[in-house]
Assembly symmetry: C2
Homo-oligomer: 442 residues x 2
């Protein structure tokens, strides 16, 4: 297949039917009409707008949901915005669920379609934004007025990044948001141009979609895409170094040998008992998992905390001279696991305790009093002491609770945690089996 | 015993009898007379002077040797100095051996006393020194004219540093020279004052014996003692950081509990088979020795090369992720051994091969071609490869010859080297057994 054929076939897998699209647009129109009417009846100076990928015609088949923003005057007090916003939203359906991102919004279903109803301020320009959600209508307007014929290219890029495992700006993935994909397509002019440029990206690259460079603020992120509606903001702020470089790699691999698989990678088989045993035997490493119940928090709160635990455990082990080959944090929102592949997990019975520099007399005398067997190594006193933890697992069991762990996860770990090894880890289920296959890769 | 009694008793162990001293002085006078006469007969404008600790009355009982310098006019050509110097020296005895330090000199025995006969230039002041030996007569004059009543204090300091294992500026020890001991006693006014100040020394301390600070050149050494006869020179240049701090430690220990043992430490028993086995079992470490024949070179040439080998082997091991707990270099001038106490000496079957940063495209593509299984870790490509050396000993055997080794030692190692472990190491003899006891200390 030629690249064009591949893109065509990929698109046919992700582009909604015209019929579905029309239904969705009709639903959006209906809701807006209802909301506008009810707002008037409630005496509110508020109107509804359709935003997000369904409004921009860039959504992927099967992911249909409609974001409706309720536009309040900017001078509305915050409490009023929340109170009347939620009240107005609830007029759409009897089955509403209140959710909370930066501020509350309503989730409901209307004519079989998932709807998010989000109250926000209709500020006059993006520099007057009062909360992050106020930015969405600006993003919407920008994309709608610039994307022109490139809606399908945006769909391709979203699916491509999804296939590469780098789609989604939530904190679990730390990848590319939908808006970022749309901007890249607008900036480079086509899906293939994004891929070609992506293959040559370098850390720190700045994409200035709307010539806002003069307003530029330095960002430490690996990729900077200046938000055309808010030049101080980096649209790629959530993108991690790891995902940035994985994207570059995916672009190069696609250019080298384009394939449908890169858009729709085959499902990952969970690694099984025998296979894992065999693999670890061949590698000679020890696989360790610290497991605990997931606290009752959303993914976006959980993942940063899991990464914190991962860092803490790795730090704990390395400080005690054990050696971690690789690590990862996993959760299915029921159980969590920090996975460690160990290179060195047993150590001799002695360790060196490092004392003060010899020429710090007072510290030295105290150290010598405590450790009469101390001797000099270079410029310091040191002493050989019995190693407290000769095994990595004992160390984790004894010291995990002394580590920085993140608030909610700490509570959960304090209640109960386990340390399991090698194929025992698979008792956490198939999703972990998939995660392990990706982490270790045979 | 009071400190004074200890010093008195220590002194009686190291101060030569008056009779011996008189004999020595008489021998020196006799030789000088002979040399001066023979010089005149040979038509040389040369005279002999007695230098060194026997001339300064600071030598230790049992270490009697006499240094006689043959003072040539500074305009004498170097070849003439050597030719006539050696010729004149040989007139003292029929049994002369030619030696070579910075330039040739004669070793002989006269009336039962070891004599060194060293030709040098009698330059008008120390800034005109043509070779290092020319400095000795200046040192001699300085000490003789400043030491006054402190000869015995100098003896005590020499013996004290010897007891602490830090006496001798040769490259094996990298400790305190006799001249340095004398200067310290002159500067501080007594042995006890040196010890008291020594206990408070700090790295980088500058001792300006003769107010030459204005000529001071910055030195990187841990202790700077500006040479009163040559202000650009650090008398303590040969002193290693390790020995400097060991001296400070010894001073503090002496002040805390003065004892004869610190002047005359009990002999070290070589560690024996059983004891070493027991000790290593308790520590859980592996002792490794790389052994080879000593090349036919003097200690001062050998030791820097041995340390180079030690550094190289430790670096080799650490680069391959093995872990060295401590190391040392030993020689009895027949055999040499680099000793390593290992904390980690076996590793799993995989290792991580680190590739280029992902955004270095050309390097990355080459790396991926070579390693199709490469994956991204942070900002780099890496790949898991079979570990070439899973054992430290295999690694040393395979790679020692690729290390930087020092010219002469490299030749010897290239001929043959062994890697032996644990109590096998003791086959190198009792001196190594002593060295091991000091290195490991139970």
């Amino acid at each position: 297949m030629s690249t064009e054929e591949i893109l065509g076939e990929a698109l046919s897998g992700i582009k909604p039917d015209e019929e579905d699209a029309e239904t969705l647009r009709a639903v959006a129109r209906d809701i807006i009409k209802i909301l506008d009417t009810n707002a008037k009846n409630m005496g509110l100076d508020v109107y509804a707008v359709h935003v997000g990928s369904t409004a921009r015609n860039t959504w992927l088949k099967g992911t249909k949901d409609i974001d409706i923003f309720l536009m309040f005057p900017p001078e509305t007090p915050r409490e009023k915005l929340e109170e009347y916003g939620l009240k107005l939203a609830r007029t759409v359906s009897d089955h509403c669920v209140e959710k909370y991102a930066e501020h509350p919004y309503i989730k409901t279903v209307f004519e079989g379609v998932d709807i998010d109803l989000v109250p926000c301020y209709r500020v006059s320009d993006s520099s007057r934004i009062q909360s992050a959600v106020d930015r969405s209508p600006f993003h919407n307007r920008y994309v709608q007025s610039h994307i022109g014929e490139l809606c399908d290219d945006a769909r391709l890029l979203k699916q491509f990044t999804r296939g590469a495992g780098v789609y989604g700006s939530e904190l679990k993935t730390q990848g590319f948001s939908g808006y970022l994909c749309e901007l890249l397509v607008i900036y480079y002019g086509s899906f293939m141009n994004v891929i070609k440029s992506g293959a040559n990206l370098r850390r720190g690259y700045v994409i200035d979609v709307n010539d806002h460079m003069d307003h530029f603020v330095e960002h430490p992120e690996p990729l900077i895409v200046i938000d055309p509606v808010d030049p101080k903001r980096n649209v790629a702020a959530a993108l991690s170094e790891q995902k940035f470089f994985e994207f570059i790699d995916a672009c190069r691999r696609f250019l080298k040998s384009p394939s449908m698989d890169m858009f729709f990678p085959p499902g990952i088989e969970p690694i099984d008992d025998e296979e894992l045993k065999e693999l670890l035997k061949k590698r000679g490493t020890l696989l360790v998992a610290v497991t605990f119940d997931s606290p009752d928090i959303v993914e976006d709160t959980l993942y940063p905390q899991l990464r914190r635990v991962e860092e803490s455990v790795v730090g704990l082990l390395e400080r005690h001279e054990f050696k971690v080959y690789r690590s990862g944090a996993w959760s299915d929102m029921d159980k969590c696991a920090i996975i460690l592949e160990m290179l060195v997990w047993e150590l001799p019975d002695i360790e060196r305790h490092i004392g003060p520099p010899v020429d710090e007399k007072e510290h030295s005398l105290k150290f010598l009093e405590k450790y009469p067997d101390a001797y000099i190594l270079g410029y310091r006193y040191v002493v050989d002491i019995p190693r407290r933890y000769t095994g990595a697992i004992d160390l984790i069991r004894a010291k995990l609770l002394t580590c920085g762990l993140g608030k909610n996860v700490a509570g959960s770990i304090r209640e109960k945690f386990d340390v399991v090894t090698n194929e025992e880890i698979l008792c956490l289920g198939d999703d972990l089996g998939k995660f392990l296959r990706e982490l270790i890769r045979p």
